[in-house]
Structures are given as structure tokens and as C-alpha cells.
Symmetry: C2
Subunit: 383 residues, 2 copies
Amino acid sequence: MLDATSSYNLMTDTSPVDNRSRRTPVDDRTGHRIVPDTTRRAARIPGNRYGNRPTMKDVAARAGVGLKTVSRVVNGEPGVTPETEHRVQEAIDALGFRRNDSARVLRKGRTASIGLVLEDLADPFYGPLSRAVEEVARAHGALLINGSSAEDPEREQELVLALCARRVDGLVVIPAGDDHRYLEPELKAGVATVFVDRPAGQIDADVVVSDNFGGARDGVAHLIAHGHRRIGFIGDMPRIHTAAERLRGYRAAMEDAGTAVQDSWMSLGVTDPERVRQAAEKMLADPQPVTAIFTGNNRVTVTVIRVLAEHPTDVALVGFDDIELADLLRPGVTVVAQDAAALGRTAAERLFRQLDGTLLAPERIELPTRLVTRGSGELPPAH
Amino acid sequence: MLDATSSYNLMTDTSPVDNRSRRTPVDDRTGHRIVPDTTRRAARIPGNRYGNRPTMKDVAARAGVGLKTVSRVVNGEPGVTPETEHRVQEAIDALGFRRNDSARVLRKGRTASIGLVLEDLADPFYGPLSRAVEEVARAHGALLINGSSAEDPEREQELVLALCARRVDGLVVIPAGDDHRYLEPELKAGVATVFVDRPAGQIDADVVVSDNFGGARDGVAHLIAHGHRRIGFIGDMPRIHTAAERLRGYRAAMEDAGTAVQDSWMSLGVTDPERVRQAAEKMLADPQPVTAIFTGNNRVTVTVIRVLAEHPTDVALVGFDDIELADLLRPGVTVVAQDAAALGRTAAERLFRQLDGTLLAPERIELPTRLVTRGSGELPPAH
DNA sequence: CCTGCATCTGACAACGTTGTCCAGGCTCTA
DNA sequence: TAGAGCCTGGACAACGTTGTCAGATGCAGG
């Protein structure tokens, strides 16, 4: 694993609630007085704390003007003669001055940054989502700070609170946990928040989700329409809202078709490839094997494709989430596609509408899914 | 496109150099004095600028202690009696206080955040890279701010400078441009910087790259070893270092084999699917068509796979970058794989070593690539 | 009871920026 | 030439936090 034994470690102590136990008097300073900051990078020239970055004061001194005049020039405010402005600009260029946004933020109260907490940036589903959020943020002049919760509620909370401590203007959260009451003080304090992909737990907030239930129901109904009755379902832990909704859609479709679902057809909560593989193989090895499988997310789908590729008989497959190259496989993979970018974009836009102050009551926005037929979902039952 | 007509727009004016022209006296304030901040979110209770967030002062007042004592409790510093600490904790919980890291940063000089500038977060290659950087950052208690340059040098610079204005402690940059002299003042000021995937231009800095040259050469040599001589190359603009290196590898392998490369075999700088498709089709329609294609990156590979899937004769293919499901296609796609996560991890670790102050001379770290044979690269020449 | 010492606490300045406000110089008019 | 009004520039406080330092308190020993 990663080790962080280095001296650079600014664990941010985000939860003032829990640090009672952390009372470790780590006075790692050397008592020396001559060197006021031992953490300063060795190569730096002594100066102020940011290396030796010039400040507006330095620029002002060099240009022979007042501090505020520099501020005016830097921010393009009116009331500076071209001459003065020119002098200031020269000083800025000569010193390599760059405004310190930390100080600016402290003064202005807005950070022009928003936080995005998602599950795993390495998951191909979240890349486009994140990118979409970023584009909207960029259009509003804001930067994006993001972090992965790794599907761990505790880590999600830790991240969210760290972002709040940074005073991000808003948060886009893909929840890992199901209880977000810890966010109440933040919401009350005016942190704009939008949940995406899954709803918030225990609190009232904006949510942008896909129609997981409807999508799964349609996907399973599609299999049923092609003659399948024994349909397997492999999905994530029902603790996760999307997984639960998709399971509900599966059950609903089966019920609509008048088919009693057998426990052995369902595998819930398995997510690592090896166990997904086992689950799929078990369903297929049953004396009454499933003739089709509905998979609850992209990762499961990929693994099941691998299993089916080795399986002697044709088994139909519909997966939730689109996957790249799905059209090039033989058969092509039929999926219930959701638009990750649209989720992100919608959420971010909603967020900035909150920030504009034109805030309405919390709303739940549901985006439709789309059944993409490519072959695997149209295979007839083998038995 | 996205519009940002809303009132929330804190375009951060990152370049004091260029704002001479932006002198627009936008006094959008209402002259009213009673309401000092009209941008405040409507729903908020009037208070300080962060909604009405309590400050340490408020906590101190409520707990009946001094400001500094609150600070001590929040930071787990020693020298507070359990009684006092308890009173402070109660006040913190009651008020929902959360330390303002902006102020902390201003005081301490370190932001505990690093910036990551990459090309496109939606590209499956960068997801794992970004995630790896994030994990290292997390291990060091730092947050990750990231942005996409969309392969636009100007946008890269804009982003990097915005991050510098935030005083991120360090930068991991996947360069879009080839001139990074604009970073000189920042480097001099002590901003730790590591370039990944492609080297920096015109400045001396740490770089972590894959062995693009060697990987491409081996990939093409692999095709040659399987009997191919007329081998096409489709890659990105040679302006991009990786693309140039891979092209160089292609040429080297061809030269080693004593094969003169014909211009019609190469397509450089096409990147959007439609034009890649045209380029591939043109090579295949030649009177002396290529019998194999080497593709310069994952996106090109995917498009070429589509073209080859429709093509009547078997054409061998080796692609740079691994792609998901490559093993499930028929034939499986042979690729030169680079380890995106390792790139990110290595770069981030190097960055934090810089931040530790144990700084060495700028170094170039090259990670090996791996040829993964799956079938498409082992097809014999059809002609 | 006083001194010395250790422990705990809080006043104060500083971080770098921006908002407010006033001073000084200018132009224009009477 | 004086006065009004405008334009430009700068002094100052404030944002919320942390480092410094000195004061207050408690306790042991003389």
C-alpha cells in the first residue's frame, strides 16, 4: 500500500468532533529560532512563506504606488491612469507576481471552486460524468476539486467535510453512504449541494438520477419478450440505491410476466470479478439453468461477458450501463445505457442555479435510460 | 455550448499580465448600503460572508474561553484541560463549527492540495492515472484539484496558473503545449512540479513518461516478425511528444527491417473518428495496401478496429495503449500497454518527495511498456 | 507566607487580499 | 480666482486562522 511516512503530511483534521483522541503533542520543531519554518523546501530562497513569492506590497513598493492601486490593476478595476497601470504591470512582470487566491477567498467569501465526490474516478462511468461537471464549472469560472470515496461511507464523509472546510461554494456528491445528516450544518450554512446517481439519505436535497428502476425493468422485459423466463440477475449490494432500484426493476418485470423469481437466479452484493464469475457460473450450472442474465452495472457486465464467452451454449445478456466496444463483440452487447455526461451536466447546472440564489425547493430530476439492442439481448433461450 | 450567463461567475483573472484590456468598470452593486453583499444566496440567513458560518470567535464566546483555546482544541494541540476542552467541543457541536481552511492556508502557507492538469478526464487512459495521483495525495493528506486542458496549450496554461494562484503545493501536469517557460516564476517560487506522460517544453523539470519510442518500435517489430512489410501508422499530431516518439519508434523498427516507409502509409495528426476512419480506409484501398496497421493511441485503435471489422481481408493490428475488452474481440487486440496508474503513482510520489525538501536534480523517469499479444498482431500478411 | 516552577489560558499580530473612505490634485465654471 | 465636482491614489480595517508571548493559576517546598 501507499505509505505516507514523509514529512509532507497536512492531514487536515477535518472533523473537530473527533479529534479528542488525537491529542498528540507532536512538537516536531527544532526549537531553533533563526529558521522560523523548518518545513520550507530546502531549495527555496528564504522569504515569505510561499517560497519567496512577491506580494502586492512588493509590487506596490517596486512600482512606487499604493497597495490598493496594485489590487486595482490586477483586478482590472477602474480608476488607474494608463501610466500608473503601466508601471504596475512592469513591476508585476518583473517580479513574477501572481495573486494569492487564498487571501482573496478569505476576503471575498467565495472560493470559485466546487467539490465533486464520486466513487472511483478510474471507473469509465465516472470519467465522462466528472468531465461534464468540470465543463460546467469552467463555464462559471470555477475550479473542480474531486475525490473518490471508494464506495466507503466514512471516506465519503471525510472527503465532503474536507471540502466544506475549504469552503467550496458547492458540492456534487455521488453518495456512498445512506445517511447524510452530517451535512445538515453545511446545508444550513448555505453550501449548495446536489446529489447525483443516487439520492441522499435522511436529508432533503437536490438529486439527479437515472431511471434505474424503469431502465432495469425495460431491459428485463426485453429479455422476456424474446422468450426468456429463467433470467438471472447479478448486481451490487442493495445498500447502494442504484443497485436496489435495478433489482426492483428486475423483480417488477418478472412479476409483470407472471414469473416467480427463484433465489438461485439472483446474486446480490458481489462485485469483484472473481466472485461475479463464480456467481454466473453457478447460475449456468444449475439443473434448470438461467437462459439469460441481466447484469446490474458495467463492471459486472464485463465479467459476465468473459464467462459467457467460454460458455458452450448461448446465453442472452442485457447489461446496465453502456460499455465501450460493446458493438464490436460477437454478439454485440445489448445494454440499458445511461448518459453519464448528462447526469453530471444536469447536476452541475442545478448546482450553479442554487448558487445564483434562484433556489427552489429540493427537486428530484430523473433522466431516462435507453435500451441499446446489439444482439446479446435478442438471443432466444437455448433451452 | 455551455453558457454562463448566471450571476455566479468568479472568473479568476489568473493572468495579471493580460488584463489590461479587461478594464470594464462593472459596478454591478446596487449602491444600497444596508445589504452589504447582494450576491449572497437568497435563502441564507444574514451573517458573515460564508452563509452564517460560526467562526472560532463565536465558539470561543459560547464556550467562554479565548480564541486561541478553541484553535488548540480544534487542532488537537496540547495544553488544554479536559474540562475546557469539553466545553469547547460542546460549543463546536452546538454551532456546527467547521474550521475555515482558507484562513488556515493563508496563515500556514501550505494548502495541502495539489493540482492535476490532464488532457481529458473522460479518456479511459486518464481515469486510472488521475485516481492513482489521488491515492498518493490522500496518503499525504492532500486534496486533488484537477482540470482538463482539452489538448489546448492555452487552456493548459490558464489552468496551471489558476492552480498556482490557489497556491497548490504542487502540480502534476500532462502537458498539452510544448513551451512551459511561463512556469519559471512558479518553479522559482517553489511550486513542486512533475510532468507526466509527456516532457515539459523549454524548462528543466521532473518528468515521468512511458517508453513510447521503445514500445512503438517493439510493437512494429512484432508485426515485422510476423511477416509484414507494408505497415501503416495512424497517430496524433507529432506536436504531441508521445505521438512523435511513437512515430519515431515506428520508423526505427521499419528501418531496422530495411523497409522504406512510404508517405501513404502514415497518417499523422488525425484524431477524430471520422478522419481516422478515412485514413485507414485509404491505406487499405491503395493498390499496394498495407497488410498491418500500428495505431498510435487508444482512441485511434478503437476506430481502426471498427474499420477492420468491416474490411473483407484480415489486416493485422497492434495498438498503443491497452483498451478494455480487447481480449474479448475476435481476434483479440494486440497492444503495447502502458501502465497509466503507475505513471500517476510515480509522478505523485516524486512530487511529494520534492515537497519533502529532499530535492534532487530534475530527473526523467521512463516506465517500460508491455506488449500484450492477443491475436490481431499475429495475423499473417494477407497479400 | 513567599518563591519557584509548571501548567493553562488569552491578547495580539500577522498572513495577503479587498472594501471603504478620505485626501489631494485637477478641470471647469461663475 | 474661488468653489464645486471629478478623478486618481493610498491609508486602513477586515476576512478567520495560527504563532508568539506573557499573564494567571495552582502547587510544592522553603
